[in-house]
């Protein structure tokens, strides 16, 4: 087994957890991935199909890690359809990580969809540091909501609060996660907000955070080819999301004029986010 994180490591899907009808978690043995930091991602090879960046999900087994896949387009659907015992390749983990201020007293996590994955790894650290943590999980509907139990479990040793919001109101609060955020940042004194999810959601989180003078840590997603800082397909401004990120702070975010506005497609052309 290569210890170089850049080599593709063969892994076997040893357990599959169905989180929702369109989201599954694959658990696999890989010492290196098991030590990933919150915010880091793997490049996951789906042999002869695709390679996709995927945040590293937590597994409770020692030496194991996981990925949580939302069935979406070509590559993610092929991945979603893999079975127990199937082989994948992984390289990484890559990227920086969420920074936790030691002085921090009260953390707010706002996530949606598979953006929750890096936040789950983060809850484990916050739990260890005994930081009072509120998690807002946004979803379209009850059926599409996942990781509520995990968030509560991972935060068992610290004061915590997991709030669910669904757009259709089938579970928890009705509305967007950012609606919930707007309300609670006025009621409670948070120092840092950590966010990951759809970029337009994160853009709102950042706007609310800036307006409330919070420290902000957002984990961005961009189209990635290399994952190691050589192709620039992931660049936003002069920052490489795969290497300088994925996590950026409020200072960096507020100067990124393309954040929430434009991304680069596979050819490298800038295109607008579909609103």
């Amino acid at each position: 087994m290569p210890t170089n994180i850049d080599r593709i490591r063969s892994i076997v899907i040893e357990q599959i957890i169905e989180e929702t009808p369109t989201v599954k978690t694959f658990v696999f043995k890989d010492e290196i991935s098991s030590k990933a930091k919150p915010g880091q991602f793997l490049m996951v090879w789906i042999p002869r199909v695709e390679e996709l960046p995927m945040s590293v999900m937590v597994s409770d087994k020692k030496g194991y890690a996981a990925i949580t896949i939302r069935k979406h387009g070509f590559g993610s659907t092929a991945l979603f359809n893999k079975r127990l015992g199937d082989l994948l390749g992984v390289r990484g983990p890559y990227g920086n990580q969420f920074k936790i201020d030691k002085e921090s007293k009260k953390a707010l996590l706002v996530g949606g969809g598979t953006g929750l994955v890096p936040l789950m790894r983060l809850t484990i650290t916050l739990n260890q540091l005994n930081i009072d943590t509120t998690v807002i999980i946004g979803a379209k509907s009850k059926e599409e909501m996942f990781f509520e139990k995990q968030a509560n479990d991972f935060l068992d040793k610290t004061k915590h609060n997991v709030i669910i919001s669904t757009e259709d109101g089938t579970y928890g609060v009705r509305g967007y996660a950012t609606d919930v955020m707007s309300i609670i940042v006025n009621k409670d004194k948070f120092d840092t907000v950590y966010t990951c999810g759809p970029e337009l959601m994160m853009k709102k989180v950042v706007d609310i955070g800036l307006a409330n003078s919070l420290s902000i840590q957002a984990s961005l997603e961009r189209y990635m080819k290399c994952g190691v800082g050589i192709c620039a397909s992931c660049c936003i401004g002069d920052q490489l999301v795969c290497k300088d990120g994925t996590v950026f702070n409020e200072k960096q975010l507020s100067t990124m004029i393309d954040f929430g506005r434009m991304y680069r497609d596979k050819s490298g052309r800038k295109v607008n986010f579909h609103m």
Binding site: E50, I230, A232, G268
Partner: protein, 314 residues
């Protein structure tokens, strides 16, 4: 000029600046094509980090999405295999991207499958703030582009002549290890009017995952870059430079200042950094430039140009 830029300029100028084929570079380190080569913001950052020149990703007349991932992966030996498939935003979008460029020494890399594609691309770039062009005739894994062109001496000649009649800026021809001898293609390029040669591009290669028994790259076959190819790069630069006397830019596995000096002794007037960026980050430009500087000082030399091709005499 940006304060920091100005400082870098002054600091390096006398000892480190090089000129070749009408290009003046503040130091011999350039960004190799295909690395971080699509964003003006990133170019500005690279220039702040000390790059002497910047070659863009190879640009084609139309945008190209390239192959599906995996398009690039790393080997244990500080080397990559890639088959990106010449993904690029196309001449139109890229000319808009760099339209705002002021003082970054950009060289636009162009790729095409026939001589007719170049004039319209040149037209888009020639009025911008750029130093010149590098023509990629050596991408080893895209059909009808790159190497397939570079292996056809007549095509090489036609393309260069066509470009030359459409621009006064210097043009650099990038060659590689294909199925025509690298010196021979460089000779054809020189005869057709090329101002300089960049050598070398990646070498056709592949890797198979033994667990799935499948080729790793989506395109199966790609190009090998990085430390592995350095001795082949040094040899190519040495042979081209010694035999043809045309200015050469060295490329291929340059990871340290020692590597850069080795290429220069072999005949390179400047060097391009590619794979090293993945392993050592953008600071490679500073580290390597500093190393070259110290070497020149230790050897009691007045200019980086003095070491170019010194190994030819032995």
């Amino acid at each position: 000029m940006h304060r920091r830029l100005k400082r870098i300029h002054e600091q390096y100028n006398d000892l480190l600046s090089v000129s070749l084929a009408g290009l003046q570079l503040r130091n011999p380190t350039m960004l190799a094509s295909g690395f971080l080569g699509i964003s003006q913001d990133v170019f500005n950052r690279l220039y702040r980090m000390g790059a002497g020149g910047i070659v863009s990703k190879s640009i084609s007349i139309e945008p190209i999405e390239g192959y599906r991932n995996p398009t690039v992966f790393s080997l244990e030996e500080s080397s990559y295999i890639n088959a990106v498939g010449l993904a690029n935003p196309g001449a139109e979008a890229f000319s808009r991207e760099i339209a705002s460029n002021r003082n970054v020494p950009i060289i636009v890399s162009l790729v095409g499958s026939s001589d007719n594609e170049f004039p319209s691309m040149i037209k888009k770039f020639d009025g911008l703030n750029i130093l010149g062009y590098e023509i990629n005739l050596s991408c080893p894994h895209v059909a009808k582009m790159g190497m397939e062109v570079g292996d056809d001496p007549e095509m090489v000649c036609a393309i260069i002549k066509k470009i030359k009649s459409n621009t006064h800026k210097p043009i650099i021809i990038k060659v590689g290890i294909g199925s025509v001898d690298v010196v021979k293609i460089a000779q054809v390029a020189k005869d057709a009017g090329a101002d300089a040669i960049t050598a070398i591009n990646t070498i056709r290669a592949m890797a198979i995952d033994i667990e799935t028994m499948m080729p790793i790259l989506n395109n199966r076959i790609g190009g090998l870059s990085g430390k592995s190819i350095k001795p082949v790069g040094v040899r190519s630069v040495y042979e081209i430079s010694k035999n043809l006397g045309i200015p050469v830019i060295g490329c291929g596995g340059i990871f340290t200042w020692e590597d850069a000096v080795e290429f220069m002794l072999a005949g390179a007037s400047a060097v391009q950094l590619g794979s090293v960026i993945g392993y050592k980050g953008l600071s490679a430009f500073t580290t390597i430039t500093k190393g070259i500087k110290k070497y020149l000082e230790r050897k009691g030399l007045k200019s980086a140009m003095e070491i170019v091709g010194l190994a030819h005499k032995y």
